[in-house]
Symmetry: none
């Protein structure tokens, strides 16, 4: 048991250290030696768990995306109305980012790096379906504006990123429920049919 957890420990310590350093210094400015050092393991150990630096980065990305998706969508299905679904999704997303800023910044950095293009489209777009479905249903029920689904997806996604980045720069508002509420209202107002 102990050995089991220890092994898991080592792998995840590497992932943790990598994320921390990547966010601060970028992928290329972070040597694998620094990651190993930060994780408290030998340089070679890193390559025992990840064949290459790139595979470490990809693993990190996939795990983070997975976590992001499972946490932000939790409970959404159970909500009854579109607005309640969207609100929960919105809050989940913002809170996830605020709770794990490293993860959010990592994903954002990854998305704008040349690494992304090497991941198959499938892997990246795996979760699109969920969002697209939600948008489609909203449009059917005439709750959401009738604009092309993928345009809507882009517009809303980026808008949420905007809020999050704003809150990163103004940490004093992160716990301000009034502020969050205002931002969501803005969001909802922009996508809903009147």
């Amino acid at each position: 048991m102990i050995s089991q957890s220890k092994i898991e420990d080592k792998r995840s310590r590497i992932l943790l250290a990598a994320r921390r350093l990547f966010v601060n210094q970028g992928f290329h400015s972070t040597p694998t030696s620094a990651i190993a050092n930060e994780a408290g393991v030998a340089n070679g150990t890193l390559f025992h768990y990840f064949k290459t630096k790139e595979s470490l980065i990809n693993t990190l990305y996939k795990e983070t995306k997975e976590n992001f998706f499972s946490i932000t969508t939790a409970g959404v299905e159970e909500e009854k109305t579109i607005k309640r679904k969207v609100r929960l999704l919105w809050y989940n997303t913002v809170k996830w980012a605020l709770n794990r800023p490293m993860d959010f910044l990592f994903i954002q950095q990854f998305s704008n790096s040349p690494f992304i293009s090497k991941l198959t489209q499938d892997e990246v777009s795996e979760h699109f379906e969920f969002y697209y479905n939600l948008i489609d249903i909203g449009k059917e029920k005439e709750t959401l504006k009738d604009i092309p689904t993928d345009l809507m997806y882009h517009l809303t996604t980026y808008q949420i990123y905007g809020v999050i980045n704003y809150l990163f720069q103004h940490s004093e508002f992160q716990k301000n429920t009034e502020y969050l509420s205002m931002a969501f209202d803005f969001y909802w107002d922009s996508i809903s049919k009147k």
Copy 2:
């Protein structure tokens, strides 16, 4: 004259080559030798014009930003109403990005790289004033929603980025005026008071 223009030629050829390669491969995966090569000059020549690689990158960023600002704001002051001002700004921005995708992608990539933090806040935020003013006036005239100026700035900026990235992926809509019009309506609807 000729030598003068040739010189200018060389400098801008380096900048051009750098942008092209940076966008495709990222900053770190683009050696200065590759840039020099692509520009058709000797490796050392690059360092004649730019003291370091980083200064080349920063120069590129500043020039691009400058160009972006001067082109996207052209004529905005002259417009009479807030809506017309905003609309022109919006179209200018989208068109600039579609006309010079390399430049847009370069800025976007730069913003998410560790290089950004090395530029003084001043240099990055140099042009904020213009946008903030516009938003403030809009709020005063009760044309725009009454939410904090910098939040509004973030939300709208990211929303435009969303449109642009969407159009990059769907080039078939880039010339579709109906589409652009729809996207702008969505935008205006989201920020304007009703």
Copy 3:
């Protein structure tokens, strides 16, 4: 018994795998991990049987040489005339090489690698005596040409290697008794007194 044979199995599986890989990729390009893998054992197991990679190589060399010697000299003593002795030796040698090309190539590769110098002269020249004796007797009986024994040894050894390498490249002649016979005649003609 079973465990005993299994153990022997493991050791020889390692040796077998090593030979196969060494011949194809060379000593240095064959990691011990690859050998262990090919042999179907754990990496550490290899070091249980062989203290170092070098000792594995040396073991392989010695065993192969031993096998080579015992098989190629089998029955030679019993032959009555020098010519018959030499012919049997020649055929045994060629056939051994054709039957076990890996082994032959391994020996050849080893001989030209820096590893050889680390084996004591004794170990390498262990079997010289047999050949030298045969040559000496042949010269005494005025059957073989009267040239220095060790020169004769070199000349003939290399000539046989020449035949073997030729046959490796022209596998279509390997079973051609006429061809073999011709090659032996050439050989015999070159060393025998007329």
Copy 4:
């Protein structure tokens, strides 16, 4: 002029150092750093002249082969009889090897290493024609034994290697013309028709 010769100097110093170390320690046991060091240049300089270690090795091989061929065949065409041609070729070859033992050992080592297979057959066999022609003419004139040309080539080539390796081990005979003469007689006797 000086710069020209200096440049040439540096490249050839690297080649020289490489040959020296390769012969003593083998390809894989000779780090590029050791080569650079021995040549008195920086490590990076080596890669300025040779893209990879392998290309350095191949360059070395090709240059050596070229040199070998041009020197050993010098004057052969001018000789009148087959025997005189063959004798000159034989002596040229043996002398070349004795004069440049490093080069000879390098070629021999290379031939038995996995590097060889990466050179196109063409490059390796480029010079076969010359030898094959000589053998064919010798057979036509009924001066040489009537055995397949390529078999003859293999047998004789290896026989010469045998002599050379023998002389390396017995340096006391290297200048002994009687010895060389005896070895050539053996050689000629083995290939000529009686």
